[in-house]
């Protein structure tokens, strides 16, 4: 059983690495991914003891705890669905390449989910991050390339910040185990700095504003299944990182906590608003993710600040994460079908939309309740109001995604299958994972009301706005990134010309190779003369010196 912990990430990893050896790409990939996801679900459901592998890396330790079990389950489901969905892509051009990166990303993701030590976690995280680049740029279009570039820049930045934090932890206690993180932080002279670095490192993945800019670019650029896992589970890796590697519930870092809360809240609003002015459904969804992750950041910030109940927070975060992952994954999977006019899918997609909006009886209400129960008191209004912006955003999604033509195209078998799988689970899993208290609370009447009125308000606002503005304005995807990019690229170019002009020493003149050195004769015969004269000098000097 324990070995499954290793097998699960190792299987797609090895498959991915050896895919070049030949064999049928589709079959291999699907089998590998399927097996891995199956294992993930099994492990998540059954739980397991830890596994120590001293020989691997810096002493690897694998295992799961409550939170990671939940996320592992989510991962299993989403990756499984994505794998099924990917069949068409695998058959296409560059399918082999896609398969490799898909499997590697999967391996990284699963690996980090079961990692119990800092180095292994970092390994999984890095593997996932860099392999996901392959998914982002897969289409090879300029848009994808740009998205990939920005993704990579931010990813490297995140990695570096993270590594700095991790090294600080490691310097204290070597390759720290996740359980002992709090202990290590206590020994650190400046825990806030380390925590800050760790938080910032994962914040990139989490899309915390202003580090979110890659998300709205990467999601639309990536193939559908990739977007689904990206938003559904890969972002959550950042969350798990926070939970594993910040001293949550062990020591309070109030300043950092407050910063996270502030950024989270700001992001929740900001992303939602920017998202309202987007043209493409996947972009809108991406902004939605940013917005939602902002809320998760608020939760983690609260925990980090030392407020709230550990257990409640853990549950809240888990429920929120699973809920969001499934709903968002579902929507991403659905987008192409909706756009192609697959009506049943379109209509059924209202379910996750409503869930995201926190509509009663959906998983969304669970999440919203969880948020409310654990959030600091002063923030409840602000948090509630995020539902309004979320509602607006989702309306915008429906607006841009809803099929305009009557044309109907049948949904692909695998498309549909994967979508249905997630749909079914999305209806159940969050409720299953939630505690009884939470479930009860969510089913209260007041919660229901709280779930409905912001949506209604949003609808009203949207109606008014659409009336007021005949032409809906647009904002560039990735909002902040456009001006930044210009500066960055300009600066890069400038740097580069500077550097190139800085002549490399190998460019030394080679003209000596061309010809002979000038003919130089030995000193001619008058040498005797000069020699004799100089000799005289020596004689004189010596004689005088000795005398």
């Amino acid at each position: 059983m324990n070995w499954m912990l290793l097998l699960m990430p190792a299987l797609p990893l090895l498959l991915g690495l050896t895919l070049g050896l030949g064999g049928h790409v589709q079959a291999k990939t699907l089998t590998g991914a399927g097996l891995a996801c199956g294992l993930a679900v099994v492990i998540a459901l059954l739980g397991t003891d830890g596994l120590r592998l001293d020989w691997i890396l810096l002493g690897t330790e694998l295992g799961v705890d409550g939170l990671s079990r939940g996320l592992l389950l989510l991962a299993g489901v989403l990756w499984g669905a994505a794998a099924i969905h990917s069949r068409t892509l695998l058959a296409g051009e560059d399918g082999r390449r896609y398969a490799v990166f898909f499997l590697l990303t999967l391996a990284g993701n699963l690996g980090l989910l079961v990692a119990r030590d800092v180095a292994t976690f970092y390994l999984g995280f890095a593997l996932m991050t860099f392999a996901a680049y392959g998914l982002v740029v897969h289409s090879g279009k300029a848009e994808a390339m740009r998205a990939g570039r920005i993704y990579l820049i931010l990813a490297v930045l995140g990695e570096v910040l993270l590594l700095a934090g991790l090294l600080m932890l490691a310097a204290q206690a070597g390759n720290t185990r996740v359980e002992a993180i709090g202990e290590v932080y206590r020994q650190l002279p400046h825990p806030a700095i380390t925590a800050g670095l760790v938080a910032a490192g994962f914040a990139v993945k989490m899309g915390v504003v202003p580090l979110h800019v890659w998300l709205p670019l990467a999601h639309p650029a990536a193939p559908v299944p990739a977007s689904a896992v990206l938003s559904g589970i890969i972002l959550k890796a950042g969350l798990l990182g926070w939970i594993h590697l910040l001293p949550l519930g062990e020591i309070a870092v109030p300043a950092l906590g407050q910063a996270l809360i502030a950024l989270g809240l700001f992001g929740a609003y900001y992303a939602a608003l920017v998202g309202c002015f987007q043209q493409r459904p996947k972009t809108v969804l991406a902004y939605s993710s940013v917005s939602q992750m902002g809320l998760l950041a608020v939760l983690v910030g609260t925990w980090l600040g030392g407020e709230g109940d550990d257990r409640l927070l853990a549950v809240a975060i888990l429920v929120f994460a699973v809920h969001h992952g499934l709903a968002k994954g579902l929507l991403f999977l659905a987008v192409p079908m909706i756009q192609r006019g697959v009506r049943p899918v379109a209509w059924l997609s209202l379910l996750p939309v409503l869930a995201l909006a926190g509509f009663p009886l959906t998983s969304g209400i669970l999440a919203k309740s969880a948020l409310k129960t654990v959030a600091p008191d002063g923030l409840s209004l602000l948090l509630t109001l995020t539902s309004v912006t979320t509602g607006l955003l989702l309306l915008r999604f429906l607006r841009v995604a809803w099929p305009e033509s009557q044309a109907r195209e049948p949904a692909g078998r695998h498309e549909l299958l994967s979508w249905l799988l997630v749909l079914v689970l999305s209806l159940m899993l969050p409720w299953w994972l939630a505690t009884g208290d939470l479930r009860g609370y969510s089913l209260q009447w007041s919660s229901m009301v709280d779930g409905i009125w912001p949506l209604a308000l949003a609808g009203l606002l949207a109606f008014v706005a659409s009336r007021l503005l005949p032409r809906w304005p647009g904002l560039p995807e990735g909002d902040l990134v456009a001006p930044l990019e210009r500066r960055l690229i300009g600066g890069g170019r400038w740097m580069r010309t500077r550097l190139e002009r800085w002549r490399s020493p190998s460019a030394i003149s080679t003209q000596d190779d061309s010809g002979l050195p000038a003919e130089r004769r030995p000193w001619p015969e008058p040498g005797i003369t000069v020699g004799a004269l100089l000799l005289l000098l020596v004689v004189l000097g010596l004689a005088w010196l000795i005398a």
Partner: protein, 96 residues
Amino acid sequence: MMAGLDVYALAAAALIGLGFFGLIVQMHPLKRLLAVNVLGNGVFLALIVIARRLPGGPDPVPHAMVLTGIVIAVSATAFGLALVRRQARDEEGDDE
């Protein structure tokens, strides 16, 4: 200090100086050979001047040295003259 008044000592010194001077200012190899010989004679003279100071008669050791020196100088000069002839012949060959 007999040597103090010895005119031959002065001559020896002068010959050495002259030989040196000749070696420098003369370009022709024959002349240079002559110059070296003059210088050599200066040195030999100096030796004999020194030999003369021995109270019991002329010191035979410097005499023997000079005799050896003369033979060496002459044979070397003869060789040098052969070289001079060769050089002249080579240059002659050039002119033709």
